[in-house]
Amino acid sequence: MNADVHALTGAYVLDAIEDDERADYERHIEECAECAREVAEFRATAARLGAVAAISPPTQLHDRVRHEVARTRQDSPGRLRLVGAAADSGRRIRYRRRMWTVSAAAVVAFLAAGVSVGFAINAGHQLDITQHALSQAHASDAPISRLLAAPDVRMAGGSANGGSVTLLSSPSLHQGVLLAQNLPAQPHDRNYQAWTITPAGFRSLGLLGGGGSATLSVPDLGTGEDIGVTVEPAGGSSQPTTAPIMDFRTAG
């Protein structure tokens, strides 16, 4: 890797680089143990700079945080092993989940470009949305065409064991579509089931088949909802019976 990228360590740790450079840099530190160590040292250094600015927040903030925490499900270490094995190598300390939005024009541009596009979901793991999967779905499914045409179409997604699930959604249409890709094949008596996860419990969004690729329309989709995917007995369950293999939040 060239010296130019290497020189970005300081800017990277200070969050002073653009998203595309961040992605380049993170690929760089995958292969550069020395850079990874420098990043860890710089982070500890920056934390000292931050800590000297300490100010106590109002006490009500603690109550609000307690309230939120009481209704927030934690990421489990089991799921992290599945989802973030590579990303969690410790060379990056980033958020695992991250939402992003894209314009319809951008989606169409990706389709037209005919290339595999990697979206960084956060701790650096990548969700590949291939031209093949999207265009195939696009051609065969009217709801997807409508979504792609919506001015506020968003994407969110997760991946596990080489497979991925992408959610295209539009708050204005209150609709979404889940696109599963390359999910590992399950035994005949098992299939994948998608859920929204709310403080009130789980609501089934439907089945995603026993592996490979599938699309699933999701009517009545809100924003900021947690989506989870589990492996369930064929035919589906009324409530999840296994731990999610991935989860992510719809763009709010």
Partner: protein, 200 residues
């Protein structure tokens, strides 16, 4: 407070004296879903987090909102913390900085007008920043280490870290070539690291 604990935020003092679990131990317990451990962790890290967010986001209400999001994220992702790879505070502050910067960038994304305005008034702004940093520093060590940087290193790091500027914005504000700013951010951090005796 004796010199050995000056560099640590307030909550760490008790931990250093051996009367309370460390933030690292607490985070590991939090990962198992223990809300009491989270309450104690909150007390340890919330002031550094809120202070950093305030500095970057400025607006008080928004800073509280962002701090709340950060604390909830610490709860949610606690299982990813690995004590072998750095301190809990370093982990928390990394997350906090990123979140705060995300907030100001999304708020400013639509216009570069602010940047031009900031560029016109940047000399005055730096004086204020330098003074704020100096008066707020709780540790002589950090102040001393910052003062040992060149002016360009210090200004570049402060603009990036405390104000959430990208290095491109820093270059513009300081009327300095991009490559120079990249280099100053890195060699400034190297100097700070060595001055503070930080090891990963």
């Amino acid at each position: 407070m004796d010199d050995s604990v000056r560099a640590l935020p307030r909550g760490h003092v008790a931990a250093a004296a051996g009367v309370a679990p460390t933030a690292e131990e607490l985070l590991v317990t939090v990962a198992s879903g223990d809300p009491q451990a989270f309450d104690r962790l909150y007390e340890l890290v919330v002031a550094p987090i809120f202070g950093l967010v305030r500095r970057i986001v400025r607006d008080r209400a928004q800073s509280e909102e962002v701090t709340q999001e950060i604390m909830v994220e610490l709860w949610r992702t606690a299982a990813r913390f690995d004590p072998a790879r750095g301190s809990a505070l370093s982990w928390a502050m990394t997350l906090a900085h990123r979140r705060a910067v995300d907030r100001v960038r999304s708020a400013q994304a639509s216009t570069d007008r602010e940047l031009r305005v900031a560029a016109m008034s940047h000399d005055r702004e730096f004086d204020v920043v330098a003074e704020e940093v100096a008066t707020r520093l709780e540790t002589e060590q950090v102040r001393r280490c910052l003062s040992e940087l060149t002016r360009l290193q210090r200004e570049a790091i402060e603009l990036a870290y405390y104000q959430g500027k990208t290095y491109r914005e820093v270059a513009e504000l300081l009327h300095t070539p991009l490559g120079t700013i990249k280099t100053r951010l890195r060699d400034g951090l190297i100097r700070l690291r060595d001055c503070m005796g930080v090891t990963a």
